[in-house]
Symmetry: C2
Subunit: 273 residues, 2 copies
């Protein structure tokens, strides 16, 4: 059976860990894959662990016990977070993004994997110490971001729908009032989707007054799921009166200046880390 | 300035490449990050390249020229693809997945990052030789899968909507006839979303008769975008008459047997690779 060099094992272990965030991988998986002794694999893992920590690229944790092994917990360097937030402000602050009704066109941003995978890593890292079962979002634009956070935390994504679908079986629907437009809206979720007594976080692309977040709070009550955190990419701070107070964001949008340019800044949360 | 060992550099280079699929990374980025000579970094990259190829874990390609560097192209071992398809059949073939109207409940499958990241890698690997600009999908359930394919191919995701949204500006809408129910449906896409003369692939969770795919073909014509391929996770082969012929799938669903169990099998495409 083929033997591999330490360099090769270290590269392959790194790849496997990165592709399975927050998932415990038993050392036996590596010993059989690389045809190497457990002590050798343990030394390889120490190298990977030290590398990730020297570059602030997340961490590798050892989990002891019968179901034990190692797992990768995502992380991102503070400087990278700040650089990312600043670049995002510049990207969003383009005149041609303003569309009738004073909305910012953000669809391309929310669908760009290079932006969203980094944003997802930033948000996931803030919630990585929580023991959650689900990342919840509301369709449609925030789905890629919420999916990234779920992938990084190794948990299932729950997509709340605007209307019930025949392919989802029995559903629970709630009505909620939009915080900004005061319009009555509906959200619905398949009864099969969540187990009871679960723990969740809510991830969305944009927060205005927080009406959607309150809707999620109420919907999750129906599913007996506890909401442990809220994270959004962009927070509209022009809306002073928020319906929720405890949430994090990456970038803040503060309306338009006299030249009709969007005012954007790195969020308070990012500045404090 | 700190120096790093070869093992450490190899681990960090692996991580950076995996986190940026299909994106060219200039060697200067590595030389300055690791404070090492270009020749040293080149040797590190050869190790990573050999490792990925020994384990059939995708490949690392060198791109020459001024804008040159290295890039990771996703790939997955043939045996892993077959194992994945078989496991997916077992997972879907559960009686409690059958919901009124003879639909299969698949929401949890389509939102599970462990399943979707692997499915995304499988589909992306089949299209990695095409030079595309966009991965296109229709909301909602296929979004995580399409996002994964887009992430792996390093291109933007385009989410076609069922109705136009105020936050998307001017839109183009088309009507199409569902291949299975013959109902008239609408799909809409923001005019800002695609550049002209682009190339796309279409990714979806489930294919019945292919009406949605035909809708996408027609919508992309309006945007002057060429459709180069179609990939779905599950193909309903009980629908014999398909409106499209050229597509790939991972798993085939062939209706229910006399015990009201779903009949599932690894797709023809997977068996041929």
């Amino acid at each position: 059976m083929k033997k591999y060099s330490r360099n090769q094992r270290v590269s392959a272990i790194t790849k496997i860990l990165i592709e399975n965030p927050n998932k415990i991988i038993n050392l036996n998986y590596f010993t059989s894959k690389f045809n190497a002794a457990k002590s050798t694999i343990s030394e390889d893992i120490v190298i990977v662990k030290d590398t990730f920590s020297s570059f602030s690229m997340g961490k590798v944790e050892t989990v002891s016990g019968a179901a034990g092994g190692v797992k990768y917990i995502c992380g991102i360097d503070k400087k990278d977070i700040k650089d990312f937030a600043e670049e995002l402000c510049l990207l969003i602050n383009k005149k041609d993004r303003i569309i009738p009704g004073d909305f910012l066109y953000l669809t391309d941003v929310m669908c760009d994997p290079i932006i969203i995978s980094k944003a997802g890593r930033i948000l996931a890292a803030q919630f990585s110490n929580l023991d959650i079962d689900y990342v919840v979002t509301v369709e449609t634009k925030g789905i890629p971001l919420a999916y990234e956070v779920a992938r990084m935390l190794g948990v299932e994504l729950i997509i709340v729908r605007r209307q019930s679908m025949v392919t989802e079986g029995s559903t629970v629907s709630i009505n909620y009032v939009s915080g900004s437009t005061k319009a009555l809206q509906t959200m619905t979720l398949s009864k099969k989707s969540m187990k009871a007594k679960s723990k969740s976080i809510f991830i969305d692309d944009f927060m205005k007054a927080g009406g959607t977040a309150i809707g999620i709070v109420n919907l999750l009550k129906e599913f007996d799921s506890e909401l442990l955190g809220i994270g959004v990419l962009i927070d509209n701070i022009e809306m002073k009166k928020k319906l929720v107070s405890d949430y994090i964001s990456v970038v803040e949008f503060n309306g338009f200046n006299e030249n009709r340019e969007a005012i954007l800044q790195t969020s308070r949360f990012v500045n404090e880390i």
